[in-house]
């Protein structure tokens, strides 16, 4: 996993609740055996019409946010299917950070394991963030200091799980870390019956 560095970017707004992983990446794209190249299929059924043309009414097709790095969205984002293709698609599309009042559990884990930073904020904060993002103000995301800062100086602090912070900031490989506990795992296998 690549280490997460502080950066400043454009934030896009997708003001919808309960966006499920079937919308983030529809089923017809889950048959591939690769981990890469899913960005072109992100939000496919919302993004394109039945003839394959960009759907002008879809929020993320607006020209000012086509290069967005940050997505600000509604509660329970990523609910439904456990498909990790969803964070693969979002990251490959270009998002580094997603901000919402809540995330579905499996999607949360899947995203962090791919270095896609998910930040939980209150509904009120989310509303303010959306208004500012829509004005085109750039947003600086720092996981080190756990802050979101707009170009006009408005700043928000966010809380973040210390375990995941350490993993993301250092870009550690979780399996390598777990391997350090191999003796404990073996011991467990010797002493526990199912």
């Amino acid at each position: 996993m690549t280490a997460f560095k502080t950066f400043t970017g454009v934030a896009a707004v997708l003001d919808r609740k309960h966006v499920d992983t079937d919308q983030i990446i529809p089923k017809q794209f889950l048959k591939r055996v690769e981990r890469t190249g899913f960005g072109r299929y992100a939000f496919f059924d919302w993004r394109y019409d039945s003839e394959g043309h960009a759907n002008a009414s879809f929020e993320l097709n607006a020209p000012e946010v086509t290069d967005a790095d940050i997505l600000i969205t509604g509660e329970n984002f990523g609910c439904g299917s456990s498909r990790e293709h969803a964070p693969w698609a979002l990251a490959d599309y270009g998002f580094k950070v997603i901000i919402a009042p809540s995330f579905a559990d499996i999607f949360y884990n899947n995203s962090l394991k791919n270095g896609l930073l998910l930040i939980t904020v209150s509904e009120q904060e989310r509303d303010v963030l959306m208004v500012k993002a829509k004005k085109g103000e750039k947003l600086t995301v720092s996981l080190d200091s756990q802050t979101l800062t707009f170009s006009d100086g408005t700043a928000f602090a966010f809380s973040f799980d210390p375990y995941w912070k350490e993993m993301l900031v250092n870009g550690w490989d979780e399996i390598s870390l777990t391997m350090h506990y191999e003796k404990n795992i073996t011991q467990h296998e010797l002493t526990h019956t199912v």
Partner: protein, 475 residues
């Protein structure tokens, strides 16, 4: 202070635990299928890693498999994904029950059927409906592909201990009200986020009276309430189901195991972070009308009118009604359907097929409806055929298929065309779930069967007479 079953399973599986940090949890059973595993095996190869305990892994093919002419896979990308699973299982020494196996089926149907799913186990699978296995008093949850890779390499996962939600369902269910109606009703009342951050334990008199198959239906959809997992304390019903299953312990070993399993049940004074209740008598047959599983109503109710709802719900209701081609205030009994799907890891077991067949027997599928039955496993298919259920369905005009996930998510050729409406016994009514533009209504197997005959939704209770055959004058 007493312990819940979640506390007990957690303690027995903690390999490493430090205050304030996630625990390293041992995984007893890892179920695999073709869609969420290829990138995990590839990850192992890239890092020159191996599978730590292939004997604790078990694989099948279900998501992509055709349910007609199953050995002829025309979709070359799907075919490659299935061949990749075969090659990976062979390379890493994992047992695979593929297309040609009598034990093939939807992963959440065959696990219990084969006695792989047992009380007290930690069970994971790269599939959100892994929550199904919680019916046995196992801690079972869906994981992503990175976690699949982690479990393959280490047989463990780092997990924060979840909060605990007790869902108490007391009373007596009305005639014609099924386990599917219970879970759809729970989600309609409490929403799709009520379980977020929690493992849900189901308890109460309704749960005690449920069969294992009904318990599986309930736990299966706990994920649709946002829960990490759903589970039910083991009891004599659980033990009776597990006995003599193919991979379950035998003779003395089984008796010893049964004692351990029963001891896992939550203590009476167990403490939960939250408790919610549902009175059985208030539940009626449910139909979803919208684009997430909480958008459901009892069949006697009318559709919500967007302007009557809370401010923050109006846009969502409006968008869902628009996608579904419905109008607020109307009854679903007036809405024509074009498709019926009886299948999926929620409702494709023997009791589901028997209850649907009971409605269908002697009747004919409506001329405007295409109806299919997709058994949850090849074993279910065989048993149903032994009981003559296939004949009942086929004579009525249903198509009788081979097992797989099928139209629940339409990764195989079983799709609902855009703008058409399906009464489906599956678990998700998301936009495009059964095909781009498809309109999915989640219902129980008997409600689906009744809808197939009528060509629209009907209250199945009007067709059922307690203790007698289906009323023949309903149509």
């Amino acid at each position: 202070m007493g312990k819940s079953i979640i506390d007990k399973i957690w303690e027995q599986h903690e390999v490493v635990s430090e205050e304030g940090k996630p625990s390293l949890l041992y995984i007893d059973l890892h179920l695999l299928h073709e869609v969420t595993s290829p990138q995990a095996f590839e990850g192992l190869r890239q890092k020159n890693r191996t599978v730590r305990r292939p004997d604790r892994c078990f694989a099948t093919m279900d998501h992509n498999v055709p349910t007609l002419n199953r050995y002829v896979i025309e979709d070359s990308i799907a075919k490659k994904q299935m061949q990749t699973l075969e090659a990976n299982c062979q390379e890493f020494g994992i047992q695979l029950e593929g297309l040609h196996s009598d034990d093939q089926g939807i992963v959440h149907v065959i696990g219990p059927e084969l006695g792989l799913t047992l009380p007290g186990k930690t069970i994971v699978c790269g599939d959100s409906h892994t929550s199904t296995h919680g019916a046995f008093g196992a801690l079972a949850f869906g994981i992503g592909t990175s976690e699949v890779e982690h479990v393959l390499a280490t047989q463990t996962l780092w997990q924060q201990k979840p909060k605990q939600l007790n869902v108490v369902i007391e009373g007596e269910l009305g005639y014609g009200v099924s386990a599917k109606d219970v879970i759809l009703s729970l989600i309609a009342r409490y929403g799709t986020s009520v379980g977020a951050g929690y493992v849900m334990e189901f308890s109460g008199s309704v749960i005690s009276s449920f069969s294992m198959e009904e318990r599986m239906t309930l736990c299966n959809m706990s994920i649709e309430a946002g829960a990490k997992a759903g589970l039910i304390s083991p009891d004599e019903t659980t033990i009776a189901y597990c006995k003599d299953r193919k991979y379950a312990p035998i003779s003395n070993a089984f008796d010893e195991a049964a004692k351990r399993w029963l001891a896992l049940a939550s203590d009476e004074d167990a403490v939960y972070d939250k408790t919610i209740t549902l009175a059985a008598e208030t539940i009626e047959p449910m139909v979803t009308w919208g684009t997430n599983p909480s958008m459901g109503i009892g069949i006697s109710q009318v559709l919500p009118r967007p302007h009557e709802g809370a401010d923050n719900e109006r846009e969502g209701v409006k968008a869902a009604l628009s996608y579904m081609g419905l109008t607020g205030g109307e009854s679903l009994c007036d809405v024509d359907i074009q498709h019926v799907f009886i299948g999926s890891c929620t409702n494709a077991r023997m009791s589901d097929l028997r209850s649907a067949a009971r409605i269908v027997a002697g009747h004919t599928v409506h001329k405007n409806v295409q109806a299919i039955v997709v058994p949850g496993s090849q074993a279910v298919k065989k048993q149903a055929e032994a009981e003559g259920l296939d004949v009942i369905f086929k004579e009525a005009g249903f198509q009788w298929r081979d097992s797989g996930c099928s139209m629940c998510l339409g990764m195989n050729p079983d799709l609902v065309p855009s703008g058409e409406r399906c009464a489906s016994t599956s678990n998700r009514n998301f936009e495009g779930r059964q095909g781009k533009g498809a309109r999915t209504h989640l219902v129980s197997p008997t409600m689906a069967a009744a809808a197939a005959l009528a060509g629209k939704f009907v209250d199945v209770r009007t067709m059922l007479k307690k203790g007698s055959e289906v009323a023949h004058d309903c149509f």
